[in-house]
């Protein structure tokens, strides 16, 4: 039996929906604009007024961007750095997350505080002294140095997230595995890992996006081997509009696409890391 709502409640409900949709549009429309800009031919980009619903779409701008000097290598550099960051932070961070999840030991609280307190540190500011140090070590202008710094940035989050992922895998399951014939390593690989995989993958993607987007440290630590954001930043005022728009689009799209895949984990990722 459906109740008829009084009109005041209907209006209230309607306003709520309106507000929600307006905010959604506020977020989506600028993305729409940059996408249109990236797919508009050059003369449209320079033209004014622009029509909000594009008449012609073309790959001209994109092609111009991709073929510009240094762009493809910098794209590739970004991928390399992000993958390296992802790998190192997972290899170092996941075991720590597992240790936090499964063990109680003296020093656990101190460790947690250490992890949480890294948030108070403006991470980008680490890049200046590290830039000096890397130069002394002859590692200036290397992608590895960028990846190392990005890993430092991503590590606390990775540790906290993987910790909660492993907590989510009931300890009883691991115990059952050891009763029925597994040693610790087998119990981990056969039972814990398969169940933790979605969460770990989400954390990895999150790290990838973090590294992909990062500008300051990447710019400071590199000279010729730049990542895409660093390349864009350096040339910002000197580059023509089409270049900027296409570049913005390129930085944007992979991140959004990846986040789509892990959308289910977004809240657990952030909610947990910041408790």
């Amino acid at each position: 039996m459906k109740k008829k709502l009084p009109s005041s409640r209907l209006i209230g409900r309607g306003l709520v929906y309106l507000a929600a949709i307006l905010i959604a549009l506020w977020i989506l429309i600028p993305i729409y604009f940059i996408t249109v800009a990236a797919f508009s031919p050059k003369d449209v980009i320079y033209a004014w007024p622009k029509s909000l619903f594009p008449q012609t779409l073309s790959l001209e701008t994109m092609r111009f961007f991709v073929n510009a000097q240094y762009v493809l290598p910098s794209l590739w550099n970004s991928v390399k750095v992000a993958l390296l960051t992802l790998a190192v932070s997972l290899v170092i961070g996941a075991p720590a997350g597992y240790g936090l999840a499964r063990h109680i030991f003296p020093g656990k609280d101190i460790y947690r505080i250490m992890i949480l307190s890294t948030r108070a540190f403006p991470i980008v500011i680490l890049s200046i002294p590290l830039g000096v140090t890397f130069r002394e070590w002859g590692m200036y202008d290397s992608l590895v140095s960028v990846a190392l710094l990005h890993t430092a940035m991503a590590l606390p989050t990775t540790i906290l997230v993987t910790s909660s992922v492993f907590i989510g895998v009931s300890r009883e399951l691991e115990e059952a595995a050891t009763v029925f014939g597994c040693n610790r390593l087998q119990a981990f690989t056969r039972v814990v890992l398969p169940l933790a995989l979605p969460g770990l993958a989400a954390s990895a993607i999150f790290t990838f996006v973090l590294s992909w987007n990062e500008v300051f440290a990447a710019t400071i630590l590199t000279l010729y081997n730049r990542t895409l954001p660093a390349r864009m930043f350096i040339q910002l005022s000197a580059s023509p509009l089409p270049f900027r728009f296409a570049g913005g689009f390129f930085i944007l799209v992979p991140a959004i696409v990846f986040m789509f895949f892990i959308r289910r984990y977004l809240f657990s990722l952030w909610g947990i890391t910041l408790k």
Binding site: A20, F121, P122, I125, L155, N213, A255, G271
Partner: protein, 284 residues
């Protein structure tokens, strides 16, 4: 296999990360301190600090940075609060909505800057829209350095981009508030506004505090957005640090700026922790 008495396992698991963090956090921090307060010959000095304070660009940078923070953070919190309260209303399509609201998390500050530049630029979308609606005949120079135009554009860009960070934290906090409290308030006569003000917000304090600290610390480092929207016309603290490092090749001054940013971050964290005084676990 014999079982050992003392369990090495947790320590072994945590060792790599501890070493890494000490190497890449503690040590650079120490080094930055050294660079800021020690000359190349090893002499301790305050000269870099003095030079920074005396620099004309410093006052402009700190003014801009503080103005931005004051403009951006409260706006974001209100918007994020509205967004998260909307999430509680159990609308149809909430899942899609949540995804859309979280999209900006994935957006680089550089990309956000470029996007809003494309909107505000002379031949950009805002001008086109105004023209289309009949408000303008000629393009209006929003990004005129003489006006507050660039400032507004940057504020909008940052509010657009970074509100999701606050949003996600607040929603996670909201979800952990047991519905019983809100329902009890409703049974005992509280209207919507009273429920929010008297029940939800107080219980949301830990999340608000966390979000404030995080967002402010991130805001002190604002950098790429400013460059993308206003170019060289507007400087902020992080931009000055960058300039001293890359253009003037003076890592001492760059480190001094870095230490200054660090102190502001720590100071704001401390202030928030004190004034919001959340008693339970350390939510930092």
């Amino acid at each position: 296999m014999k079982l050992k008495r003392f369990n090495w396992e947790p320590y072994l698991l945590l060792l790599p990360s501890t070493l890494y963090l000490v190497l890449f956090f503690a040590w650079p921090m120490f080094q930055a301190f050294e660079l800021a307060f020690q000359k190349d010959d090893g002499q301790l000095t305050l000269s870099y600090l003095q030079r920074m304070f005396g620099d004309a660009m410093f006052s402009e940078a700190i003014l801009n940075t503080v103005k931005l923070i004051i403009a951006i953070v409260p706006l974001q919190f209100i918007l994020a609060l509205v967004m998260s309260l909307l999430m509680m209303e159990r609308l149809r399509g909430s899942n899609t909505l949540v995804y859309i609201y979280s999209i900006p998390l994935a957006i680089s500050d550089l990309a956000a800057g470029i996007i809003w530049f494309s909107i505000f630029t002379e031949r950009g979308y805002l001008n086109s829209l105004m023209h289309g609606l009949g408000f303008l005949d000629k393009p209006y120079l929003f990004l005129n350095y003489q006006t507050n135009g660039p400032f507004v554009a940057i504020v909008l860009a940052e509010v657009w981009r970074a509100t999701s960070i606050v949003f996600v934290i607040l929603v996670a906090g909201l979800q952990s508030i047991p519905r019983d409290y809100v329902e009890a308030a409703e049974v005992f006569g509280a209207n919507w506004f009273q429920r929010v003000w008297k029940v939800i917000l107080p219980l949301l304090r830990p999340s608000i505090q966390t979000a404030l600290i995080l967002r402010t610390i991130l805001a002190v480092q604002v950098f790429a957005v400013v460059a993308a929207v206003a170019g060289r016309g507007m400087t902020v603290l992080a931009a000055e640090a960058y300039r001293w490092y890359s253009e003037y090749r003076n890592s001492h001054m760059a480190a001094t700026y870095a230490m200054f940013i660090l102190s502001i971050s720590l100071a704001t964290a401390f202030i928030y922790l004190r004034t919001l005084r959340v008693k339970e676990e350390m939510t930092l």
